[in-house]
């Protein structure tokens, strides 16, 4: 199968963030980057499908400045066959602007399957996958926790709130991957060496107009300080009184 995986380079979420002087972006000093969590799962899904089903091609695509090449090389190191950078000075916050660039790239690519992570861990918009699918007129299944492909059709399981559902769909299709499908492999030393020689094509991103923009970024305000009601089971009556009289939630 010819599979495209759209991946995003995001900051390491374990770090302590600081707001940049413009008040609308993060201070990049000391920032480490990696492939977004769910996008890593999507790469793994593509690799496993092609390993299982014989000859195929896994193409990783990322939109952004040259820094994304590092992320693409990591995916190549994991085993993807080739990479495409859709070059843009900055990654817009607007999912629709990004989806338009991806749709332009994917439209005539002849892909059987186009994978995304369920959401990017930084912008958390969870919109680019289904938007791209809609622009391409392809069937789309989001937040998939189990995926099987056979005879030109897919079966996927997705978790809903308090329920799960199984869906079937024809290929070509767009699928966004939730965690739980496949733990992404680490690139082996051999993989990293091979990745250096794999093709990485750079093209200008045909971004749509950005109508969703960042006005401001802030660190979340702390909740007003709470209090320790007491220690051990003896504190229970006082807690219940507070929940009833003060918080009025009981």
């Amino acid at each position: 199968m010819k599979i495209a995986v759209c991946i995003k380079r995001v900051p390491d979420m374990d770090m302590r963030f600081a707001i940049a002087a413009d008040g609308a972006s993060l201070d990049p000093s000391g920032m480490k980057f990696d492939i977004a969590d769910f996008d890593g799962y999507a790469v793994e899904v593509a690799l496993q499908l092609n390993e299982k089903q014989g000859p195929g091609e896994s193409v990783v695509i990322s939109l952004g400045p040259d820094g994304v090449q590092e992320t693409l090389r990591k995916a190549l190191g994991m085993g993807a066959d080739r990479a495409v950078q859709l070059k843009a000075d900055v990654v817009p916050f607007d999912g629709m602007a990004i989806a338009q660039a991806l749709a332009a790239e994917l439209k005539d690519g002849g892909y059987d399957l186009i994978l995304f992570g369920r959401m990017a861990t930084d912008s958390a918009n969870q919109s680019v996958g289904p938007m791209t699918a809609t622009l391409l007129g392809l069937p789309c299944v989001t937040a998939v926790s189990k995926l099987e492909i056979a005879n030109g059709a897919g079966t996927a399981e997705r978790q809903l709130e308090g329920a799960s559902e199984t869906v079937t769909f024809p290929l070509p299709a767009v699928v966004t991957i939730d965690e739980g499908v496949a733990r992404p492999r680490l690139p082996s030393l051999k993989g990293i060496m091979a990745a250096k020689k794999k093709p990485l094509e750079v093209k200008p991103a045909q971004l749509g107009a950005a109508r969703l923009t960042v006005a401001r970024m802030e660190l979340p305000a702390d909740r007003p300080p709470g209090r320790i009601v007491g220690e051990g089971p003896d504190a229970v009556p006082e807690l219940v009184r507070l929940l009833h009289d003060e918080a009025k939630v009981l």
Binding site: M96, T121, R223, G226, I228, V229, L239, L250
Partner: protein, 327 residues
């Protein structure tokens, strides 16, 4: 003056709490732009039209109802095509969808069909004739991003619990429509549905959530959490990622940035230390109670009320007291 649109999410023929919240969000937007009408869209199986009156009670002037035997469950293609058609026909200033599992799947499709952008998962917003401005937690909840959305209609998903459903009743006049697409012709078809966890009360609908973490020591001890939830009578049971990763609880009950993000009236954290990723999923709860053995656990920094000590002694006492308090 501008009319606004609310998508009224239903499940199994009943409206979800977020349906009323979206009507309230649409009312807020209509009032801010000169006081137009609120139009809700309700899609479901035969009989769902009976629920339109509840949306009128919540503040919808008009309820567009699409009933079809093939639409008892969410069908992304049909719902998206139908919502896009209605929004286009209505010429709305803004359209609101819940940032629920269904809304997050639906809203991007609708935006793409209409060729407009989408503001996601807002915890608050304001709107005027030019732009919608909203607050959106990003970077696993470590950053609050204020976004500006231009273009009409402005489409946004609103985080469950972020807007209070307390609007004045309106007419709720029903307009019936056919789906924009034959459900049988959709490419993606649901072939099986499995209930997971406590299907009676979803985490997104429950006014009270009792969650358990590693402090419970083993899966079997979650009965303590379940009994406390049962004592409240209107509570759902959640869990931390550590616990769902270990297979103690179903992954669909995980609360945190990568799981469910909830804002109940009351959140009770039992044996939860308070990892950042968990706190990102519950910090907007109205009242937080924490029970933990370690007085320095980060959960006590976000909790309104805490009890330090052995949960195995405290929780049964609390269950008993809550049961008594509720009569």
């Amino acid at each position: 003056m501008a009319n606004t649109f609310a998508f009224a999410e239903s499940r199994g023929g009943s409206l979800r709490k977020v349906a009323f919240e979206m009507v309230a969000a649409a009312r807020q937007a209509a009032d801010a732009t000169g006081g137009g009408e609120v139009h809700a869209l309700l899609i479901g199986g035969p009989g769902v039209a009976a629920k339109a009156a509840e949306l009128g009670q919540a503040g919808a002037d008009v309820v567009h109802v699409v009933e079809h035997a093939g639409l008892e469950r969410y069908n992304p293609e049909v719902f998206a095509a139908t919502a896009a058609e209605r929004i286009k026909a209505g010429g709305y200033r803004a359209a609101f969808f819940a940032a629920s599992a269904e809304g997050k799947d639906l809203a991007p499709r609708v935006a793409a069909l209409l060729g407009v952008s989408l503001a996601s998962d807002l915890t608050g917003f304001s709107i005027d004739g030019n732009a919608l401005t909203g607050r959106h937690p990003t970077h696993t909840g470590k950053i609050i991003t204020t976004v500006t959305l231009t273009g009409t209609p402005a489409i946004a998903t609103i985080r469950p619990g972020a807007v209070r459903a307390d609007g004045a009743a309106k007419a709720g006049t029903v307009h019936a429509h056919a789906p924009a697409l034959d459900p049988a012709a959709a490419k993606v078809q649901v072939t099986a549905v499995g209930a997971k966890g406590d299907a009676k009360l979803d985490l997104g609908d429950a006014p009270v959530i009792v969650s358990g973490g590693r402090g419970l020591r083993e899966a079997a001890n979650f009965t303590l959490v379940e009994e406390l939830a049962a004592a409240f009578g209107n509570a759902a049971v959640g869990a931390t990622r550590a616990v769902t990763d270990d297979g103690w609880r179903d992954p669909s009950t995980q609360i945190g940035q990568t799981g469910r993000i909830v804002s109940p009236e009351l959140y009770v954290a039992v044996g939860i230390s308070g990892a950042i990723q968990h706190i990102a999923g519950m910090r907007t709860s109205k009242v937080i109670v924490a029970i933990n053995r370690d007085k320095d656990a980060p959960i006590f920094k976000v909790a309104d009320y805490g009890i330090v000590g052995d949960l195995f002694e405290i929780v049964p006492k609390l269950t008993e007291a809550v049961r008594k308090a509720r009569g």
